[in-house]
Assembly symmetry: C2
Homo-oligomer: 223 residues x 2
DNA sequence: TTTTCCAAAATTATAGATAATTTTTTATCC
DNA sequence: GGATAAAAAATTATCTATAATTTTGGAAAA
């Protein structure tokens, strides 16, 4: 039979909850009550508690002993922190991945870029964006590094979805294309430099902000 | 009352087990049986399972559904991976911490270096080394980043302890001193550069290896 | 009306019990 | 003797039950 990625109730619960947190269905500070969640999944609270420990480690929930678990809050400062960590780690991953990249992988990454440009909503864009990054980084073959980057992507996506509650307009991702051009021509360091600046944009207000200022839409959409 | 750092049985178990794994008391591949551990701690297996999830997230254990949890294996490739991640993230942390460093902090870091140089065994050295890094990085005030670095330090220490089963000889840590000199003189970028090279040495065989070759002692002690 | 205290309800953390799976042992066959 | 299969033991994953803690919702006092 087609075996699921993971087989335990705890891992299923943690995946579903992580997804809800990232998508903003569960808002920051929301209290995660173990019995309620257990009931929803038709399980007892034992696997729920295990799922909590996982979410905690991913930075998506915080637990206070005897006082329960809440969806982690995040402010713009933490978004910047995640962006800088991503920049540092993705550059590292790309430097190692570069020598293993094949034309087929780069074609798939270009396809992901096109799908991102054509995305009809923010969720579709995020999925394509994440796929792009994963495609060009996975060949580094460093599983711990990739796992860390995945967790950081989740945090980034959470910010993206929370900031982008309103309409979506298509645009062209020039950074992704420039990265691919550099990689195709074997200029890995240049690609890494573009990637670094690209990811660093997350959580920065774009240059031409109107006086409006504080609005959530005032942040650049990048990733 | 003086409250413990964390208060649940699960967190206590995970801390103790993490320590044993890092120190090599529990060898790679060793099977962690939940009932045995529960019995040792006078607890039930529920908190033990929660501790397992934490160790898994830290990369110290791996869990296969229905087949139990084992101490994570690690080879030289993973040690290098951890070293590179540490280099990338510690440089990032230091760049942010630099502007918040005070003479008092740098004095404490120098004291940690002296204690490392005077250390009588590998455990004392590791403790002092870790303290040095933590002191100069903590002022970056980025909790997620610091937590990641802590986990990577644990992985590094595990390698250090496994490689250094034999005698210990004192030596002087010139890198730490050079970093402190640069920081005292406000040359943060230079300090970051030294730190990067310093951490990158982990898991690299030293230049002047005798033909002996594969022996565990053939790796540089740095960190 | 606001504050303070106390009881009721909800919730967490843990223990003990059970079904299902994996591992080990033992017996059997070639 | 070594391989194989069945039976026994050990172990995992989960559920149900219970003690302890925290939160909630008033009632009494200021």
């Amino acid at each position: 039979m087609a075996k699921e990625p993971e087989d335990t109730i705890a891992s299923r619960i943690s995946r579903v909850l992580a997804d809800r947190i990232v998508r903003g269905e569960l808002p920051a500070g929301f209290r995660l009550r173990q019995d309620h969640i257990a009931e929803e999944f038709g399980a007892s609270h034992v696997p729920v508690r295990e799922a909590f420990r996982r979410l905690e480690a991913q930075g998506l929930a915080i637990s206070e002993p005897r006082r329960g678990v809440r969806v982690a809050s995040f402010d713009i400062k933490e978004v910047r922190e995640v962006a800088e960590m991503r920049a540092a780690l993705e550059v590292l991953a790309l430097r190692h991945a570069a020598k293993h990249l094949t034309p087929a992988i780069l074609d798939a990454a270009e396809e992901a870029t096109r799908e991102g440009d054509a995305a009809a909503d923010v969720h579709a864009w995020e999925e394509a964006n994440r796929r792009f990054h994963r495609l060009i980084l996975a060949p580094c073959n460093m599983s711990r590094l990739l796992a860390s980057i995945d967790d950081l992507h989740a945090a980034s996506a959470r910010f993206l979805f929370s900031a982008w509650r309103s309409g979506w307009e298509k645009r062209t991702d020039h950074d992704h294309r420039a990265i691919l051009v550099a990689l195709r021509q074997g200029r890995a360091e240049e690609a890494a430099g573009i990637l670094e600046r690209h990811v660093q944009w997350i959580g920065r207000a774009p240059k031409s902000t109107r006086k409006g200022g504080e609005s959530a839409e005032a942040f650049a959409i990048v990733g």
